[in-house]
Symmetry: C2
Subunit: 82 residues, 2 copies
Protein backbone atom coordinates (compact mmCIF):
# COMPACT_ATOMS: atom_id res chain seq x y z
CA UNK A 1 0.00 0.00 0.00
CA UNK A 2 1.33 3.42 -0.90
CA UNK A 3 0.62 6.97 0.21
CA UNK A 4 0.64 9.53 -2.62
CA UNK A 5 1.01 13.21 -1.84
CA UNK A 6 0.16 15.35 -4.85
CA UNK A 7 0.78 19.08 -5.15
CA UNK A 8 -1.12 20.96 -7.82
CA UNK A 9 -0.04 24.52 -8.60
CA UNK A 10 -1.22 27.13 -11.08
CA UNK A 11 1.28 27.57 -13.92
CA UNK A 12 3.55 30.58 -13.30
CA UNK A 13 2.08 32.50 -16.26
CA UNK A 14 -1.47 32.29 -14.85
CA UNK A 15 -2.61 35.15 -12.58
CA UNK A 16 -3.42 33.80 -9.10
CA UNK A 17 -6.21 36.07 -7.84
CA UNK A 18 -6.72 34.02 -4.68
CA UNK A 19 -3.02 34.38 -3.91
CA UNK A 20 -3.18 38.14 -4.50
CA UNK A 21 -6.11 38.44 -2.08
CA UNK A 22 -4.29 36.43 0.59
CA UNK A 23 -1.14 38.53 0.06
CA UNK A 24 -3.18 41.69 0.66
CA UNK A 25 -4.59 40.12 3.82
CA UNK A 26 -1.11 39.25 5.08
CA UNK A 27 0.10 42.80 4.38
CA UNK A 28 -2.92 44.21 6.24
CA UNK A 29 -1.84 42.13 9.24
CA UNK A 30 1.52 43.92 9.12
CA UNK A 31 3.70 41.28 7.44
CA UNK A 32 5.03 43.38 4.55
CA UNK A 33 7.92 40.93 4.05
CA UNK A 34 5.63 38.43 2.33
CA UNK A 35 5.36 38.50 -1.48
CA UNK A 36 4.36 36.38 -4.46
CA UNK A 37 1.75 34.32 -2.63
CA UNK A 38 0.45 31.51 -4.81
CA UNK A 39 -2.15 29.00 -3.73
CA UNK A 40 -2.45 25.45 -4.94
CA UNK A 41 -3.91 22.16 -3.80
CA UNK A 42 -2.35 19.39 -1.78
CA UNK A 43 -3.99 15.98 -2.16
CA UNK A 44 -3.22 12.93 -0.06
CA UNK A 45 -4.46 9.50 -1.06
CA UNK A 46 -3.82 5.84 -0.38
CA UNK A 47 -3.17 3.62 -3.39
CA UNK A 48 -3.60 -0.15 -3.03
CA UNK A 49 -1.03 -1.11 -5.63
CA UNK A 50 1.30 -4.14 -5.71
CA UNK A 51 4.39 -2.07 -6.56
CA UNK A 52 5.66 1.50 -6.38
CA UNK A 53 5.71 1.73 -10.19
CA UNK A 54 2.06 0.74 -10.33
CA UNK A 55 1.21 3.29 -7.58
CA UNK A 56 3.00 5.96 -9.63
CA UNK A 57 1.08 5.01 -12.75
CA UNK A 58 -2.28 5.21 -10.94
CA UNK A 59 -1.37 8.52 -9.26
CA UNK A 60 -0.31 10.02 -12.58
CA UNK A 61 -3.46 8.77 -14.31
CA UNK A 62 -5.64 10.32 -11.55
CA UNK A 63 -3.78 13.65 -11.88
CA UNK A 64 -4.07 13.75 -15.67
CA UNK A 65 -7.67 12.57 -15.91
CA UNK A 66 -9.25 14.30 -12.94
CA UNK A 67 -7.18 16.22 -10.42
CA UNK A 68 -5.16 18.70 -12.48
CA UNK A 69 -6.28 20.93 -15.32
CA UNK A 70 -3.36 20.45 -17.70
CA UNK A 71 -3.98 23.78 -19.45
CA UNK A 72 -3.59 25.90 -16.32
CA UNK A 73 -1.97 23.70 -13.69
CA UNK A 74 1.18 21.70 -13.06
CA UNK A 75 1.36 18.73 -10.73
CA UNK A 76 4.05 16.92 -8.82
CA UNK A 77 3.82 14.00 -6.42
CA UNK A 78 5.74 11.90 -3.97
CA UNK A 79 4.97 8.29 -3.14
CA UNK A 80 5.92 6.41 -0.01
CA UNK A 81 5.23 2.90 1.14
CA UNK A 82 2.91 2.63 4.17
CA UNK B 1 15.16 35.96 0.63
CA UNK B 2 13.38 32.74 1.45
CA UNK B 3 10.74 30.62 -0.23
CA UNK B 4 8.14 29.16 2.15
CA UNK B 5 6.03 26.21 1.08
CA UNK B 6 3.10 25.67 3.42
CA UNK B 7 0.80 22.66 3.43
CA UNK B 8 -2.53 23.00 5.21
CA UNK B 9 -4.54 19.84 5.81
CA UNK B 10 -7.85 19.14 7.51
CA UNK B 11 -7.35 17.42 10.85
CA UNK B 12 -7.81 13.64 10.56
CA UNK B 13 -10.96 13.69 12.72
CA UNK B 14 -12.73 16.16 10.40
CA UNK B 15 -14.81 14.67 7.56
CA UNK B 16 -13.40 15.76 4.21
CA UNK B 17 -16.45 15.95 1.92
CA UNK B 18 -14.44 17.38 -0.98
CA UNK B 19 -12.05 14.44 -0.70
CA UNK B 20 -14.96 11.97 -0.65
CA UNK B 21 -16.39 13.53 -3.83
CA UNK B 22 -13.02 13.32 -5.59
CA UNK B 23 -12.60 9.71 -4.44
CA UNK B 24 -15.97 8.85 -5.98
CA UNK B 25 -14.87 10.56 -9.20
CA UNK B 26 -11.63 8.57 -9.28
CA UNK B 27 -13.54 5.31 -8.70
CA UNK B 28 -15.96 6.22 -11.50
CA UNK B 29 -12.94 6.55 -13.80
CA UNK B 30 -12.02 2.96 -12.93
CA UNK B 31 -9.24 3.48 -10.40
CA UNK B 32 -10.66 1.43 -7.53
CA UNK B 33 -7.20 1.18 -5.91
CA UNK B 34 -7.44 4.76 -4.64
CA UNK B 35 -8.76 5.35 -1.10
CA UNK B 36 -8.78 7.93 1.70
CA UNK B 37 -8.52 10.98 -0.54
CA UNK B 38 -8.02 14.13 1.50
CA UNK B 39 -7.65 17.59 0.03
CA UNK B 40 -5.70 20.44 1.53
CA UNK B 41 -4.02 23.63 0.42
CA UNK B 42 -0.49 24.24 -0.70
CA UNK B 43 0.73 27.82 -0.41
CA UNK B 44 3.99 29.17 -1.80
CA UNK B 45 5.28 32.56 -0.81
CA UNK B 46 8.46 34.60 -0.82
CA UNK B 47 9.59 36.06 2.50
CA UNK B 48 12.05 38.97 2.49
CA UNK B 49 13.65 38.16 5.83
CA UNK B 50 17.26 38.66 6.92
CA UNK B 51 17.59 35.15 8.37
CA UNK B 52 15.98 31.73 8.14
CA UNK B 53 14.74 32.00 11.74
CA UNK B 54 13.01 35.27 10.95
CA UNK B 55 11.47 33.75 7.78
CA UNK B 56 10.18 30.85 9.92
CA UNK B 57 8.69 33.26 12.45
CA UNK B 58 6.88 35.25 9.74
CA UNK B 59 5.63 32.09 8.00
CA UNK B 60 4.31 30.69 11.28
CA UNK B 61 2.63 33.98 12.16
CA UNK B 62 0.92 34.10 8.73
CA UNK B 63 -0.29 30.51 9.17
CA UNK B 64 -1.64 31.10 12.67
CA UNK B 65 -3.23 34.48 12.02
CA UNK B 66 -4.63 34.00 8.54
CA UNK B 67 -3.89 30.90 6.50
CA UNK B 68 -4.92 28.00 8.75
CA UNK B 69 -8.03 27.57 10.84
CA UNK B 70 -6.49 26.15 14.00
CA UNK B 71 -9.72 24.45 15.08
CA UNK B 72 -10.04 22.32 11.96
CA UNK B 73 -6.69 22.40 10.21
CA UNK B 74 -3.05 21.51 10.75
CA UNK B 75 -0.18 23.18 8.94
CA UNK B 76 3.40 22.33 8.12
CA UNK B 77 5.98 24.24 6.12
CA UNK B 78 9.41 24.06 4.60
CA UNK B 79 11.68 27.04 4.04
CA UNK B 80 14.52 27.30 1.57
CA UNK B 81 16.85 30.12 0.70
CA UNK B 82 16.41 31.54 -2.80
Amino acid sequence: MYQSTITITLRPSILDVQGKAVELGIHTLGMKEVENVRIGKSIQMTVNAPSEDEAKRITEEACKKLLANSVMEDFSYTIKSV
